[in-house]
Point group: C2
Chain length 167, copies 2
DNA sequence: TCTGAAATTGTTTGTGG
DNA sequence: CCACAAACAATTTCAGA
């Protein structure tokens, strides 16, 4: 019976401000049943929050880049994420396997600002950096869940055996 | 006067379901003025949408990875993003400068599924891949905008000369 | 571009199955 | 876990500045 929850997650991933009334309509539930399910998904931590998606260029972030990070001292306590987390231009921080230790996604207004930002990261994190500039973004942070078609044509059966929504 | 818009963007980046009533309270505007500003930000494309943030593990995505992509044929029309966009596990696609042409962020349930996913990407996109597995995510997709403190202590003046919100 | 008020719509809670 | 209905709260629209 959890394809209902997946359906709700897909709807809210696509439109985080959709009303419970509309969620109910789309899923065939009453408003209050829809609201109860959403509340349970929030309490279980399945829904971690809601965000407005903001056009980066509109807030002066013309440049996006990925920065591969290698700490200088391999024996030191490795707290790179905390050392650089105060820098607002760092929007994501991933600990990764492979040739480097961390991968950061950063945003800057222009190349000069990016240059300063990289210097700041190297200084604050005691790391070396290897930066890849993003040229364009065909798509970003889509939901893995199938896009909800407004018209209810198909049944809710999953096409393959997949794990149910877990809390 | 656009520090008001930046403040609203910061609030909605942090909580995409915040009510216009609360936005008005935080910014010192009336409810309808807050709503009008949000509507204008949406119409100008500054706010591109709203999303629920979903815990990946809850929908069976235990593994996140970054896949560097190199097309086989350098002379072919390069439509890699379209060739692979139908694969739901690819959540982001970046065109990048540097040694490779594209960077994908992907999600899979386990290593075997990741292996199949990479084979699918190589086949669909006519590309070679170089994959970096994510071990943990200290933080992800934060807003560059300053986090709104609920208590109104500071004035709205920017600390540096920054571009105003543009449409 | 704002306020304030009125009309509409959505949310929340309780009762009961 | 669901539906229904009543009480409450938010949204939307409009007049006026």
């Amino acid at each position: 019976m959890e394809s209902l929850d997946r359906q709700i997650l897909a709807l809210l991933a696509h439109d985080g401000r959709m009303s419970y009334t509309d969620i109910g309509r789309e899923t065939g539930l009453s408003t209050s049943a829809a609201q109860q399910r959403v509340r349970r998904l929030e309490q279980r931590g399945v829904i971690k929050g809601y965000r407005a998606v903001i056009d980066p260029a509109s807030i002066g972030a013309m440049l996006t880049a990925f920065v591969q990070i290698q700490p200088f001292a391999a024996d030191q306590p490795d707290d790179t994420p905390e050392l650089v987390s105060h820098i607002p231009q760092i929007v994501s921080c991933y600990s990764v396997a492979g040739e480097t230790s961390y991968l950061l996604k950063v945003q800057a207004g222009n190349t000069v600002e990016l240059e300063h930002l990289l210097a700041e990261i190297r200084a604050a994190g005691k790391v070396s950096t290897n930066t890849t500039v993003v040229l364009s973004i065909p798509y970003e942070e889509r939901s893995m869940l199938p896009e909800p078609h407004s018209a209810r044509l198909s049944n809710g059966r999953a096409t393959e055996a997949e794990p149910d929504v877990a809390g």
